[in-house]
């Protein structure tokens, strides 16, 4: 209501006369607007991708040839503006200039929207799964100190998101995925050769508990004890799918009874949307236990690990590959070799991963 009050005051001061003073600028403004609308409409080609084609005819009708165009011509007449009285403006024809300016601005914007394209010599773009953020930052630093003329640009996100970016044409040299399935999508899309893909690390699942252990868990068996609060990642998330795979393996093993799976699942109070959220909930002691990657637990002092035996641990491989159209293919190969070298392996090991060689 304050806003209404202010608006009311403002409109009281705006006299009809002042409404007219700026009309000379209108044609120019209209042209800019129309060219902007045109650019927007042409960028709506994205809609075809989204299968929204029924929408397009209606939109294109709004283009310069359609209603907007006619309206802009009518404007001048309505406002008492005629070409004869403003001859200089007609002669200047601001339309192409405005169009160019808008076009340039829009190109600049779309440039910002996509992933950074390597500029200059020795710039390497690495797309890596979010769980690799810590070791890969360190590996990139080590790599840069070995190759002082190289600048490594890292892009971390969920493997699924990275795959989407690559499939939609983002420029990258190296892709490191958190699982084989996502890597396979890129291979199927023809951006990576199947022979190029190699596993460089594995991860393993662990059960984590807060350091003060409010649920009094001692071993894996306790996870099925009634009245515990256990958080896991949602089954839609890789870490959640792996947690379910662990329960299947546990039931199949001789050590734990078939009721174990049911017991653990009935303790689950939340399916977190990603594995780091599981870690946070346990670190804050909101939950009594959680199931995460060893690499996540390694960096968190507020949680303690309960190991899951290898026989019950699903295989979690991290593949890496150079993209077929990598702008810096040679350098990219050197980087992949560095990740797989002993110095790369040492960094991975420090962050809770098991290097592929071991």
């Amino acid at each position: 209501m304050l806003a209404q009050h202010a608006f009311g005051a403002a409109s009281r001061y705006s006299k009809p006369g002042s409404y007219h003073t700026s009309h000379i600028r209108l044609p120019l403004l209209g042209c800019i607007l129309i060219s902007l609308a045109d650019s927007v409409i042409s960028s709506l080609g994205v809609l075809t991708y989204l299968e929204c084609t029924p929408l397009l005819p209606g939109l294109t009708r709004l283009g310069p040839a359609g209603k907007l165009g006619k309206v802009s011509r009518r404007w001048g007449v309505d406002r008492g503006w005629s070409p004869a009285s403003e001859g200089t403006r007609v002669g200047r024809r601001p339309f192409p200039t405005a169009l160019t300016v808008i076009w340039l601005a829009l190109s600049a914007c779309t440039g910002l929207g996509t992933n950074p394209v390597p500029v200059g010599r020795g710039a390497l773009t690495v797309f890596a799964a979010a769980s690799l953020a810590e070791p890969f930052t360190e590996i990139a630093d080590a790599f840069e100190s070995q190759h002082p003329d190289v600048d490594v640009a890292l892009n971390f996100a969920g493997s699924q998101q990275l795959v989407q970016q690559i499939v939609q044409g983002a420029s990258a040299d190296v892709f490191a995925s958190a699982n084989r399935a996502q890597m396979d999508v890129v291979v199927q899309e023809g951006r990576i050769a199947a022979a190029e893909v190699q596993d460089f690390a594995h991860n393993r699942l662990v059960v984590i508990i807060p350091t003060d252990n409010p649920g009094h868990l001692e071993d894996l068996r306790d996870l099925a004890r009634p009245d515990l609060k256990v958080v896991v990642a949602a089954p839609e998330v890789p870490a959640g799918a792996y947690a379910l795979a662990f329960l299947d393996l546990a039931v199949a093993s001789a050590d734990l009874s078939p009721e174990y799976r049911v017991g653990v699942l009935s303790n689950v109070v939340s399916h977190e949307e990603n594995v780091r959220a599981v870690l946070s909930k346990v670190a804050l002691a909101e939950a009594d236990a959680g199931i995460v990657y060893a690499s996540d637990a390694a960096g968190e002092p507020r949680v303690r690990m309960i190991e899951i035996p290898q026989s019950m641990n699903p295989e979690i491989m991290y593949p890496i590959a150079v993209l077929l159209d990598a702008p810096e293919a040679g350098l990219a190969l050197t980087f992949v070799e560095f990740v797989r070298s002993t110095s790369g392996a040492a960094i991975l090991l420090r962050h809770g991963f098991t290097p592929a060689g071991e």
């Binding site: 209501m1 209404q4 009050h5 608006f7 009311g8 705006s14 006299k15 009809p16 409404y19 209108l26 403004l29 209209g30 607007l33 902007l36 609308a37 927007v40 809609l47 989204l50 299968e51 929204c52 029924p54 929408l55 939109l59 209603k67 907007l68 309206v71 802009s72 009518r74 404007w75 309505d78 699924q160 409010p214 609060k229 958080v231 949602a234 839609e236 998330v237 689950v268 109070v269 939340s270 399916h271 977190e272 949307e273 959220a277 909930k281 804050l284 002691a285 909101e286 939950a287």
Partner: protein
């Protein structure tokens, strides 16, 4: 503002037919003037995603998806928690709004800012803040645990997250409504011997009811859309704490159909509630504006 004498106001409500203001209104009312054109890009930008969503989902698929248990559960959880939330908000928000609407006191601006804060906070911040306050290791966590109350991962946590984020919409709107009630009427009622409760019940509430109602509907719509605070504070468990926005987010990566169905339902519900506000208050609004 209502303390001003009424005479000048009523004269401004009946404009002189010869005044230039009428002609200005006519210019603004023309179908394709510059304001329409300048406003069009944003309007298209706002409408396009909604239209796209509606086009993308066929009615038959929508009905088929509605029968799925996870979709049904999410809708049930959302309706239950938001209805409880709005009752909590109205019950505790009305006295606060009444106080803010009528009393002037030292630090009122601070209180008002505090009430407004959740509307500008990212909901995830609200979630973390709630966790720090009411979580097991939070400020009140120990006290709550002694009482045998465990809030985290329960529907109570969903209600708290929704109430925290949505309450300001009700309190602010209701407070403005209460504050706009004519002071002369209140004085007259008090002279006639109306007590504090009777004054509220029979004078202020009926006059401010449209504001309070629109605030409540807006607040409910906001609670329905609550995501960030809920997923952080209450977690995500289908049938217990998984509301529609959570199911949309989790479903988006794997099962676009669930996400689409729930999105369309959310849009329809939100649109209907906002429309309801407009319809019930739309005719009053211009008068209210003119009377400021």
């Amino acid at each position: 503002m209502s303390a001003q004498p009424r005479a000048p106001r009523s004269s401004s409500e009946q404009p002189d037919p010869m005044s230039p203001r009428l002609r200005t209104d006519g210019a603004v009312g023309r179908r394709w003037d510059r304001w329409t054109l300048l406003g069009l890009p944003l309007l298209v930008f706002l409408a396009l995603p909604v239209v796209g969503l509606l086009i993308r989902s066929s009615p038959t698929a929508l009905v088929a998806n509605l029968a799925r248990p996870d979709v049904g559960k999410a809708i049930a959880v959302s309706l239950k928690t938001t209805l409880v939330s709005i009752m909590v908000i109205v019950a505790f928000g009305t006295p606060l709004a009444y106080m803010l609407g009528f009393r002037n006191f030292k630090g009122k601006r601070l209180v008002e800012t505090l009430v407004d804060l959740p509307t500008v906070l990212p909901p995830s911040v609200a979630g973390v803040a709630l966790l720090v306050a009411f979580g097991r290791r939070g400020l009140l966590g120990g006290a709550l645990e002694d009482l045998g109350l465990e809030i985290a991962f329960s529907q109570a946590a969903v209600v708290m997250a929704q109430s925290f984020v949505a309450a300001p919409f009700y309190v602010r709107t209701a407070a403005l409504g209460f504050g706009a009630v004519d002071k002369e009427l209140i004085q007259a009622a008090m002279l006639d011997g109306a007590g504090s409760w009777k004054l509220f019940r029979e004078v202020v509430l009926p006059l401010a009811f449209p504001s309070a109602l629109s605030g409540a509907v807006m607040s409910w719509a906001r609670a329905l859309g609550e995501f960030g605070a809920t997923i952080i504070f209450a977690g995500n468990f289908p049938g217990r704490t998984q509301t529609m926005p959570l199911a949309i987010y989790i479903g988006f990566e794997v099962d676009l159909n669930t996400a689409l169905t729930l999105s369309v339902i959310l849009i329809l519900l939100s649109f209907a509630s906002l429309w309801l506000i407009r319809a019930s208050l739309g005719r009053d609004a211009p008068e209210a504006q003119a009377s400021r």
